[in-house]
Subunit: 206 residues, 2 copies
Amino acid sequence: MKVLVVTATPSIESFNIAIALRAAEHIQKRGHEVIFHDLYRENFSPLLESEEIPRDAVLDPAAAAYCRELSEADGVVIVHPDWWGQPPAILKGWVDRVFRPGTAYEYEGLPGEVGTVTGLLGGKFGVVFTTGDTDEEREQNYFLDPLETLWKNCIFGFCGVEKFKRRHFSIIMISTEAQRKAWLEEVDTLLDPFLENNEQQGGIYG
Amino acid sequence: MKVLVVTATPSIESFNIAIALRAAEHIQKRGHEVIFHDLYRENFSPLLESEEIPRDAVLDPAAAAYCRELSEADGVVIVHPDWWGQPPAILKGWVDRVFRPGTAYEYEGLPGEVGTVTGLLGGKFGVVFTTGDTDEEREQNYFLDPLETLWKNCIFGFCGVEKFKRRHFSIIMISTEAQRKAWLEEVDTLLDPFLENNEQQGGIYG
């Protein structure tokens, strides 16, 4: 299995980096291949420009490589802090540029018609770890937990991913070292069902 | 009154640009001052870096100017396409960098404590125009319309803005010229209540 791990956070000392590295390590221990992207350290350029939008645009080699990796991966693990109910801009830009027609979905329709979208990521899994400092009650009842629908429905669901799990760790700012250690152990446990051989997976995501 | 108009879309021919220009023109016609930002044409840098995060960070002059404008504005008008239930990355980065402590909110708390947040944008208005190609039923029931809570609660509400209105225009891809003309006229109408003198505003936003 080949798994893409993508994280976005400015500080290398962030707990997000610890989660992403832990996920990568665990996936490798289970005998799978990891492609790791720390978007800040890579200086990923998050701007989708006009010329990149058409279905058959010629992409620069770096952008094309990011797309190929997504196509070839059996699963995607995303790790990021909750900034304004959304990922940091650099990660939003990775979605804008990499989840493109021909890679993540196909659109078919005539001009002037609402066409149909077919997801191209069906069969892959998506696991999202987010971190935050908001009280759970306020997150659910006032902010309405937008990260859940953004990743589950708007992004992965739209592209045909049904095997999906998100885990939000909070409140980071007051967490103890023991708590963070337990959270890192949970990363392994959460990933395990997705790392089984395909033949063994029937029904566990339902 | 001083109103900040911010838009983000790669193509200058986008209907988003038409909306943003219409809004700016209408605000000026009503006798108010407009500060206009077309983030793509300005090459706005959307990356919030570690050194910019602390409350008392020394900002580069460009970032400081964006923040000062937000502080000084009486209202903010945002115009953008719906990309994955979110704004384009460049606009997300404008929020990440400009809606900062000391400008948009204050955080008070001791290390190891969950502190308190006070919005600093109270009294200002926020108006958001978004454009999309999703069928309304699917937007509300499957995607759960995340842009509404993102702008209303997670961003403007968090910062103390109570005078808020969002209007989503869709389906753009099959809209006629007459429809788009009517939508642009609606931009004026929607803005009007926010452009009255403060003394006249009692109650209209409830």
